[in-house]
Symmetry: C2
Subunit: 227 residues, 2 copies
């Protein structure tokens, strides 16, 4: 895939006009890392941020005894190292490729220069992040809904909202984890998914869930949620 197409699919740059995507493409360095290779180390000057394109990256700290504590694992499309870059601090942890990975590096100096020439780049990114935060806040509220079907409906709508155009979700968690997030047990979750399927709200295929009737799911979430 071209660099431009890849950038356009990074959620942080969602909806940017093509001139700005082209500007970004000009400042990127594409880097390959082998499994176990260090990307940056704690205490290093944060001279740019990264977006994983292929593979997975773990960000971790080492305890005084040398024990590794993983803070986050980042996969395709996810930025990492951007918080210290944006706030002018050093990297607070180490980053290492967990498998063969392809990564975009955005040098801070060039990025700042882009923003100076074209503030709307930063504004658009602020808009994207604000929107995602708002969705998260709404999700947390919805997870407090009284009935589990309503929580599930809200969670499915949240996942598709994050994915923009697609109405298909591939669950990245196990059913047991999802059940736990929704405050129920896997058996009840399966029963609710079955009921939603029977009512034509969704269609499931292994870990893939397709939303068929967004309106009814929305009503279920809004009503507090009894199927």
């Amino acid at each position: 895939m071209s660099i431009l197409k890849t950038i356009a699919q990074i959620p942080l740059f969602e909806g940017l006009p093509s001139e700005q995507l082209e500007d970004l493409a000009m400042i990127i360095t594409e880097q390959g890392f082998r499994k176990g290779e260090i990307i940056f180390s704690e205490g290093e000057e944060a001279e740019g941020f990264y977006v994983a394109v292929k593979g997975r990256v773990k960000v971790y700290k080492l305890s005084a005894e040398g024990k590794e504590q993983i803070l986050h694992i980042f996969g395709p499309g996810e930025p990492f190292g951007e918080v210290p870059v944006f706030t002018g601090q050093r990297f607070p942890a180490h980053a290492e490729a967990m498998e063969e990975s392809r990564i975009f590096f955005f040098p801070k100096a060039s990025f700042v220069d882009l923003v100076r020439r074209n503030p709307s780049l930063a504004l658009n990114m602020l808009g994207v992040l604000s929107m995602r935060l708002r969705r998260f806040t709404a999700l947390i509220d919805d997870l407090s809904l009284k009935e589990v079907p309503g929580r599930l409906a809200a969670y499915l709508l949240y996942l598709t909202a994050e994915k923009a155009e697609s109405s298909e979700i591939e669950l990245s968690t196990t059913k047991a984890q999802l059940a736990s997030l929704l405050g129920t047990i896997p058996e009840t979750l399966s029963r609710i998914l079955g009921k939603m399927t029977a009512q034509g709200l969704i269609e499931t295929d292994g870990r893939v869930i397709r939303i068929l009737d967004r309106g009814s799911l929305q009503e279920l979430a809004d009503s507090g949620g009894r199927l």
Copy 2:
């Protein structure tokens, strides 16, 4: 309180150096709204964004039948209307003061000008939003923990992380809603809060919870969470 101090307490501007807070103070218009007064309407040009300073604001849409559907309620410190401003769209909904409110208005043109002169303002805001998103993502993961005490520990740590320096939280939800978010019933939640208090992890006083032993709470969250 001075405008400067008030701005410094808005989470979106967390950690900004004082020159930048002063720059922001220069472009703000402070506005008062009476209960029921309209702040902006759907379809209006988004010429600036707002931060609630005092009072509460509801953002809502009207259905074809004139039925009001509330999308969000914003309280002190929370920005609203910023997504369309940042992404260059019109306001997608109405905003109305639910009570007597004091609101800061940030005109888009002046804000863009500030960012052009000083890109680090936008970068810092991007850093703040990225950090908050990361905390939310971690929270969603933690809410999938197997045991309720671990979920509660993770949620309390999340709430204090959002509050920066303070280790005191005032719950904005009812205990029933919190129990629901954690996938349990109010009785079990009370029992766990009692146990945490007995073990010296926290101290509760009505809706206020004070964290006494952050390390042990963190261990509880990290271990998956049985008290």
